[in-house]
């Protein structure tokens, strides 16, 4: 699959590397945060540019991409990137990260978001699920 990853150091680049290793065609958008050397060292394909500009998404291949990951640390950026990816580039699957649970309600189809990744919500849900008791069969 052709996947575009927006988001910078940390989780986004780790996900990009895992997908690349799994055989996906991955392009990372580096928004000029000085990650070029790290991306090159990791052997990741990248383009440099502002992901809030449609031309950058297009340069990263968004018009032919299967998946767009808008997983930066700014919820507002993720929403706008999702919107542009869906409406301007027609990316079939847009996955966005929620950093602040208070903004989670915004992450829906009206912003072009098909699926949401919310670390905080995922953790909370995990906490609520009881751990299976190995002594009970």
């Amino acid at each position: 699959m052709k996947v575009i990853v927006v988001g910078g150091a940390g989780l986004p680049e780790q996900v990009a590397a895992v997908l690349r290793d799994a055989g996906d065609q991955v392009t990372v958008i580096d928004s000029g945060l000085g990650r070029e050397q790290a991306l090159a060292d990791a052997g990741l394909h990248y383009v440099v540019g502002d992901p809030l500009v449609p031309a950058t998404l297009e340069a990263a291949g968004a018009l032919k991409a299967d998946v767009l990951l808008a997983v930066s640390q700014s919820d507002e950026d993720n929403l706008v990137i999702s919107l542009l990816g869906k409406r301007r580039c027609g990316v079939p699957k847009v996955i966005a990260r929620v950093n602040d649970p208070a903004t989670e309600a915004l992450f829906d189809a009206t912003w072009g978001v098909d699926a949401v990744v919310s670390p905080a919500t995922a953790l909370v849900e995990m906490i609520r699920v009881p751990v299976a008791d190995p002594t009970v069969s």
Partner: protein, 219 residues
Amino acid sequence: MQVMIMGCGRTGSALAVRMHGEGDQVTVIDLDKTAQGRLPPGFGGVFRHGNGVHRRVLEEAGIAHAEAFVALTANDSANIVAARVAREIFRVPHVLARLHDPAHAEAYRELGIATIGSVQTTVNRVVQLLHHLTLEPHQTFGNGETLLVRSRVPDYLGGRNAGELNVPGEIGVVELSRRGHSQIPEPTTPLEPGDVLSFIVAAGSLGRLRSFLDGKWSS
């Protein structure tokens, strides 16, 4: 008018003071508590600390009653998201958002959000002042992309028709004042030296209009 301003920086605080001074009910929201210090002591409006992208913050600030919402933070994405929430979720009738980076204009256009382009407005104004001093606009539209300017008809254009000054998409003659009487000229109305014309003109075509008026016109 009940107006909600997101972003209490230099612009947001100045707007808040001005609108409150003109009798409007003003609420200012800022992520940073200390931003309240930009408002003068005794400011009669309301300051609220919070993220204007959060629904709860907007609701508690009274957005249900707001007639206008203005997003003036330093972050284009935050302005876009908040403006859209104000307009589409809370149905605020008048929504404006500041655009810092002209490269982001596409995202605002995609959502139909009216923008205040700080950069574009400044650039248009500086070029206007440096290049076209003689064509002081009576009115500017949008972020200065379109202007209404008035100018005397120079002698050499006497006898030409008003329509000859029209350039589709760039310059339009919209009004003619002659001896104290104003009219909307036909394209065939002959001009007389001493007439004063009002033009609607694209900012990028001010040079062209000026060269018409300076006698560099050839047809």
